[in-house]
Every structure is written in structure tokens, then in C-alpha cells.
């Protein structure tokens, strides 16, 4: 994988990600964990209890540089699965995905994978696993620590973090490392009101002609403000894509919620 730092070329309207006929299916065991007891029972019943999940179904989507794409949909619509495919974490079952640049690989959510290590260690390890060099991370670290406002807590084990602190650190990593294609998943947009505003401003700052931003969110108002394109996924299918207000209106109508305050304010 190439370096995560963005190359400063003018790339407006060039393709960043091309998703062609992508389908993703996987079988999950009904049992929560594949244990021997369950296996013995299953043997008695003759065969394993499995369920085929169709997470993505024939999705076609192009993302261009300079675009800020919002991805919306109900829980389980396949938003995160699609992002994981783009990041190369899940191999698609059908179709083809081409990525023309470095992807943030949702790196931020990998931070905290080991709760007994400090926030600092987690940032370093998450970055190294994503293919960054030590120097690169060191170069960004001050900024990450400052932005997250964690103070001394950065050296405390992550199991002692509140969910807000956790989210702040994750967002700071995602927003500080500047890949060509940045994916920000909804889990990143939590925190108190002050931090929410700060992170929204940061997202606006990150919009640039040589970067493609993909925001997965339920915060419709934020998406209306920041995106210039919105894609709506439902049950693995791409339902609509286009001008943010239009797509979001259709989505909200679909939810029978209208423009209720509950969804607009859930940032």
C-alpha cells in the first residue's frame, strides 16, 4: 500500500473509487459462537444452522475526487459493508472495485483494538498496521492528541476511556491523517456538542479538490450541509443517488418520519 499522505496533484473530477456490480454475501452461523456443544447439537440435527446474509446486491457507484459523498440508509442497509469493501477489508463476492488512491481504511476505528494499551500505543499500532511509517505517525501525533483534547488521558489504558473520549480519539486520527480517499463512519460522529461542532468544521476543512470524502451518517442535517452528493442504500441495494436534499427528502419520506427533529439533530 502506498503512503497515506495525499499527493498534491490537481485531480478534480477524476475517478477515485469505481464500484461495479458489487455483491457481498456471507454465511453466518446462527449460534453466536462456533463452539463444540453447538457443533454436537448441530450434528444431531444433521448439518450446521447457517443463514445467508446478502449484505450488498449489485451496487454500482463512482466517487470522483472533489466529491463529498454522504451514504445513508437504515441500520443493516450495507453501508459499513460497502465501506469495508472499498477499504479492502472484505473481499466482494461479485463484481469489481477499483480504487485510485490511498484510502483511510477506517483506520480510526481500528484504534482501541487493544483496550488495555494506552491511547498513544493504539494510535501508533493502528497507524502502523494501516501501513504508515513510524515517522509519519510521529509527525501527526501532536495534532491528533491536541485535536482530541484528551490531555494526559492519552497515556492511560483505553479501557478507562468513556465512549465519548474513545470517539474523540478515533475521529482525531481519521481527520488528521490525510489520505486521498477518506471514509468517516457514523461511529466517529459522537461526542459532546462542542466536539461535534469542532469535528463538523474539520470535515468542512477537509473538503478539497484532490480528496474524495465519504461520510456514512444518520445525521441528515450534517449531510445536507457538507455533501455535494448522497447515495441511499437499502437492504444492500443502491436506491437513489444524487443531489443531497433530493435524496435525503426521499429517504426521510420513505422512513415515514418526515422532517422530524429527531433525525435532523441526531448528529
Amino acid at each position: 500500500m502506498s503512503s497515506l499522505s495525499a499527493s498534491k496533484l490537481q485531480k478534480t473530477n477524476e475517478i477515485a473509487v469505481s464500484i461495479r456490480n458489487v455483491g457481498l454475501t456471507y454465511t453466518t452461523a446462527i449460534d453466536r459462537r462456533p463452539t463444540l456443544k453447538a457443533r454436537v447439537k448441530a450434528l444431531g440435527r444433521g448439518g450446521k444452522q447457517t443463514r445467508v446474509v446478502r449484505a450488498l446486491d449489485d451496487v454500482n457507484l463512482d466517487v470522483e475526487y472533489g466529491q463529498v459523498l454522504g451514504v445513508i440508509g437504515t441500520n443493516g442497509a450495507g453501508k459499513s459493508s460497502l465501506m469495508r469493501c472499498v477499504a479492502g477489508i472484505l473481499p466482494p463476492s461479485q463484481g469489481r472495485i477499483e480504487v485510485y488512491g490511498s484510502v483511510s481504511t477506517l483506520l480510526a476505528l481500528g484504534v482501541g483494538f487493544n483496550p488495555s494499551m494506552s491511547g498513544r500505543d493504539n494510535v501508533f499500532l493502528g497507524g502502523l498496521a494501516a501501513g504508515m511509517s513510524r515517522d509519519e505517525i510521529e509527525g501527526h501525533f501532536e495534532e491528533i492528541a491536541d485535536f482530541s483534547e484528551l490531555g494526559d488521558a492519552i497515556d492511560a489504558p483505553m479501557r478507562t476511556y468513556s465512549s465519548g473520549m474513545y470517539a474523540r480519539l478515533a475521529f482525531s486520527v481519521a481527520a488528521t491523517v490525510r489520505p486521498d480517499i477518506l471514509i468517516i463512519d457514523e461511529a466517529l460522529s459522537t461526542g459532546d456538542a462542542k466536539f461535534k461542532e469542532k469535528s463538523l468544521n474539520r470535515v468542512k476543512e477537509l473538503r478539497s479538490d484532490d480528496r474524495a470524502l465519504i461520510l456514512v451518517s444518520h445525521a441528515m442535517q450534517t449531510l445536507r450541509e457538507t455533501c455535494n452528493d448522497v447515495a441511499w442504500l437499502h437492504k444492500g441495494k443502491l436506491i437513489q443517488r444524487g443531489e443531497p436534499n433530493q435524496v435525503i427528502d426521499a429517504y426521510q419520506e420513505f422512513l415515514h418520519l418526515g422532517k422530524s427533529a429527531a433525525i435532523d439533530e441526531d448528529v
Binding site: C85, G88, R96, V99
Partner: protein, 275 residues
């Protein structure tokens, strides 16, 4: 239009492109060392003795087993004790690789679900951690050997190739068991009994030559047997180990490593959906 940097297509069984995989693995070698260091720092984070446990552990371990052989075997022979510590410490290099390796993939879930990287880094890190734990024990051993008045000789250097074979074997075992654990989580619970059995089947509490001839089959089915025998011969007795033992150990290590790695590499792209 420029060529895509990354293309993701449906997953097919079989190995990934090895050259590319190796490059990607090599570029992340700092992860392996950093991960191991953080893990070691964190393991004794809350304890009073902290990093001192790296030395205390082997000392206590050899002490406990020494009590056992004195009571059961009735000997206070110093060479027995030197043999015991040498073998026990090497055994724990393998045992720690196994215990660290078994959960390496399932514990790295968050990382695996959110970052694309060669998954084999996780079991490799487990082995590196085991090596970091092994190094202080080697120093403890040298001190014990000197105190017990056991002679030092140039033949002891034969321990180096034996150690390399052991690391190779530990790597193969860690990779294999981490992969098995993704599909069959129960293996983690079986593991303590597995290592305990392996401990008693290996020439640690007894010497290889003292084994009842009727039990010779143990030598053949236990991958650690020839390795531990060679290790003790070189380090404790200062002899050149038997070539046949060394080759047998190497054959085991190579076999397990290649089968395990093949299994792992052909499966690893599927791990994300299995966790």
C-alpha cells in the same frame, strides 16, 4: 485514466500473490516490534514488580518444578536442575507462542474489521512476544549454570541452530493454531491441557536417555522431543547434538510451518466475515 492502485475482486480459494503479500508484510515490520513492546509493557502495567516479572517468572517456574523432581525423583543432582531449567525455558518459548498465538486473530477483531493488512502479522507478533520473554530466561539460565558449577564449552554454540529451529517451529504452531481458533474457538480451552501434556511428553522433567524404551514412540510423534534433546545436549552437557535429532526437529518445523501458513494465507481474506 491512470491505473487503479488497488483492485478488489471476488475472493477465490488459494494463496494470494506471495510477492505482493511479502512486500506488504515487510513494510509493516515495525508494527510487529511495536506491538510486541506495547504488549509486554502492558502485561505487567499494574503489578508492583513490573518488568522484573520477566526474570521472576522463569526463576519461580524452575523452582516449582525443581521441588517436583526432588520429591518424586529424590535427587538433588545439580546437573538435573541445570537440565530442567534449560529445557523448561525453551519449552516455554513454544508454549508462550501457542498461548499468545491462539487468540491473536480473535483478539485483533477490531483491527481486522477496520484495517486492511496481512493478518499473519498477528500470530508473528505473538511469537516475537514469546521471544522477548525468552531472552531474560536465557540470562537466568546462564547464571544458574555458572552457580551450579556446570562447565562452559564451545560446543554450547550448537544451541544456536537448535534455537532457530525452535523459533521456526513456534512460528508454524502459532500461525496454525490462530487460524484454527477462528473456525473452532474451543481450541483455546483445550490449549492449556495440550501444552501440559506436551510438557510431560517432552524430556524436561526427565532426560531423553532415561526414557523407557517401550515409550520410544513418544520421540517420534512429539515435535519437541528431538529439539529439547539437542538443546540439553548442547547447553547442559556441552556435546554436539545428534544430527538425526536436529534433522527430525527441522523436518517437523518445516512441515508445520508450510502446512499452517498455506492454510492461513488461503483463508485469511475470509477472517473478517468470520469474526
Amino acid at each position: 485514466m491512470s491505473t487503479p492502485l488497488q483492485v478488489y475482486e471476488p475472493f477465490r480459494a488459494g494463496l494470494p500473490k506471495l510477492g505482493k503479500y511479502w512486500k506488504s508484510l515487510w513494510s509493516r515490520r515495525t508494527f510487529i516490534s511495536e506491538y510486541s513492546k506495547s504488549e509486554l509493557r502492558e502485561q505487567h502495567f499494574d503489578s508492583v514488580f513490573g518488568q522484573l516479572w520477566l526474570v521472576l517468572n522463569p526463576l519461580l517456574l524452575s523452582g516449582v518444578y525443581f521441588i517436583l523432581i526432588v520429591i518424586i525423583g529424590g535427587t538433588t543432582d545439580s546437573s538435573r536442575y541445570v537440565h530442567l531449567t534449560a529445557s523448561l525455558f525453551l519449552f516455554y518459548l513454544v508454549a508462550n507462542s501457542l498461548t499468545g498465538g491462539v487468540k491473536s486473530i480473535t483478539a485483533g477483531q477490531r483491527l481486522i474489521l477496520n484495517t486492511a493488512f496481512p493478518r499473519i502479522m498477528l500470530p508473528i507478533s505473538a511469537v516475537v512476544i514469546a521471544i522477548f520473554k525468552f531472552v531474560p530466561t536465557l540470562i537466568v539460565f546462564i547464571v544458574i549454570k555458572a552457580v551450579m558449577g556446570s562447565p562452559f564449552s564451545i560446543e554450547m554454540l550448537w544451541a544456536i541452530p537448535v534455537l532457530l529451529i525452535t523459533v521456526f517451529l513456534a512460528l508454524g504452531l502459532a500461525i496454525t493454531i490462530s487460524c484454527i481458533n477462528v473456525y473452532f474457538r474451543d481450541i483455546a480451552s483445550f490449549l492449556p491441557y495440550l501444552t501440559r501434556t506436551l510438557l510431560y511428553l517432552s524430556p524436561i522433567l526427565y532426560e531423553a536417555s532415561a526414557l523407557n524404551p517401550n515409550l520410544k514412540a513418544l520421540e517420534i510423534v512429539n515435535p519437541l522431543f528431538p529439539i529439547l534433546d539437542s538443546w540439553s545436549r548442547a547447553l547442559v552437557q556441552g556435546e554436539v547434538p545428534q544430527t538425526s535429532s536436529m534433522l527430525q526437529g527441522l523436518a517437523w518445523a518445516t512441515g508445520i510451518f508450510f502446512i499452517g501458513t498455506y492454510f492461513f494465507l488461503s483463508r485469511e481474506r475470509e477472517f473478517a466475515v468470520r469474526l
